[in-house]
Amino acid sequence: MSEKAPYELTIHEAQALLAAKEISAAELTESVLCRIENIEPMVDAYITICRETARKEAAAADKAIAEGKAGPLTGIPLAIKDLICTKGHRTTCASKMLADFTPPYDAMVMEKLHSHGAVMVGKANMDEFAMGSSTENSAFKTTRNPWALERIPGGSSGGSAAAVAADMCLGSLGSDTGGSIRQPASHCGVVGLKPTYGRVSRYGLVAFASSLDQIGPITKDVTDAAILLTAISGYDRRDSTSIDKPVADLSRDLDAGVKNMTIGIPREYMEQDGVDPEVQQAVVNAVEVMKEAGATCVDISLPHTDHAVAAYYLVAPAEASSNLARYDGVKYGFRDGSAAGNLKEMYINTRSAGFGAEVRRRILLGTYALSSGYYDAYYKKASQIRTLIRQDFEAAFTTCDIILSPVAPTAAFAIGEKADDPLQMYLSDIFTLSANMAGIPGISVPCGVTTGGLPVGLQLMGNYFEEAQLLKAAYTYEQASGMHLKKPSIHRNGSL
């Protein structure tokens, strides 16, 4: 077996080597920074690379390890999606609006990662304000898929997923409002988990749609997802939607198996139009793997699936239009005050020049859905459908423990392919956004590679706060299939 370079390690592998003093945190971080130097010009996964602070954090981690104070993330180089506030490091949301914004405080998840001694190597690229499924909506750059550089990495956490897939960090944090962790994880052949709404504090997460947003891990395997999620979970009084429930060590008993589990396969998902036959086949094969592992697989129904996209694309823009009202050029962020004769003109000039096209489109859609005369027909109607979607899942979880489906209808599409057709882009979120509407957890794990060489993801969804069971099912699949070991072969000279 060939020796892995340090940057190729998983979090749990690196942790074992650090504990055995076979590698230092400084060497590990240096290896990742060197990998970034070589690969980043091709992939463009990062908005900001934090070399100097990463080296300092690695030195502090080595000290902690020497003093016997190390935890599972001590000295582990991570990438952070650029909408999570990082004290002293600019947090842009991939927007001109926040291009020079340096938060005076850390998000709750950053406080937790710092207390665990993790190393932040950089801030990852994304769709502007997390609005998009391709990372093409970044005001700075389009991230490329490490498996095929002319293709999108998915979005909105495309930089976070591509950085993990290209070994430019050991793991990362993303955020998921309608699939923004799971879909890029699927397109980049890595693991991505959206926790139950309220499991991870949103304090310091720049808001897109507050009732749907949730921070979660993107990692090289399921064990790492369990380690990272355990570290960032927990109650926080500064987020009024944070839920006060104890946090278990999710990396324990991952190998408990699925013999007592019932897995539901929603017929509305499997019969959906527009699903690539290779994606369909990969998911059908995954069902067989789970059966062989001892799970009971049953047919289930989520009858309101066909209305989920429409309801989501009213609820999310409505919340966004309200949340993004704060960008007015007064307190922080970009201001275009050059030609403004009065305050209102300054607001209008600032917002028109500061937001990109997709953000402006969603603000318009959301403002329309909330405006006088349309509220009942659009926002209220969508919120009622949301209730029906939630009830679909509640009913399903009386007959099964886990729901299995595709993550996205197709593998990664080409850069530019859907850029002019927002509705087509929205429709590709069909399998992921229901979990956000209902608030349940979901995970994407690699389940195949197409004949064109693109990774395909399998989605597993669990009941509220059942992340432990979800991770056990995902781990069982991963270990039985070995799909997580397939990697893109991206090298310095750009050859694949």
Binding site: D100, T102, P104, Y105, T196, Y197, G198, S211, S240, T241, I243, H304, H307, V309, A310, A311, Y313, L314, S321, A325, V330, K331, Y332, G333, R335, G337, G341, N342, L343, K344, M346, Y347, I348, N349, R351, S352, R360, R361, I363, L364, L365, T367, Y368, S371, Y378, K380, K381, S383, Q384, I385, R386, T387, L388, R390, P422, L423, Y426, M437, A438, G439
Partner: protein, 95 residues
């Protein structure tokens, strides 16, 4: 469902956005096709269904009414586009 250029401009005004000529046509077409798609929700019977605003939280989150230190004024002003004497500076409001 079609949305007219005037409606787009009205909504843009509400959202404090300015849409120039070239974007107006494109946005009207794109928003029109999205609204046409979401109009399918009309067919779903939601009579008697309570709306969901938050999927998990069912109660208000109360906390003790205690003082906590917040960021100080200098730090709060650090990212301001314009500030003076401890205040945010904005264009003239009163004529």
């Amino acid at each position: 469902m079609k949305i007219t250029a005037d409606e787009v401009l009205h909504v843009a005004e509400l959202a404090r956005l300015k849409i120039d000529e070239t974007d107006l046509e494109r946005f009207a077409v794109q928003l029109g096709s999205i609204l046409e798609y979401v109009a399918s929700l009309e067919r779903v019977d939601t009579s008697g269904v309570a709306p969901t605003a938050h999927a998990v939280l069912t109660r208000n989150a109360f906390r003790p009414d205690e003082e906590h230190r917040s960021i100080d004024r200098d730090r709060a002003l650090e990212n301001a586009p314009d500030s003076e004497n401890g205040f945010f500076v904005v264009p003239k409001i009163i004529e």
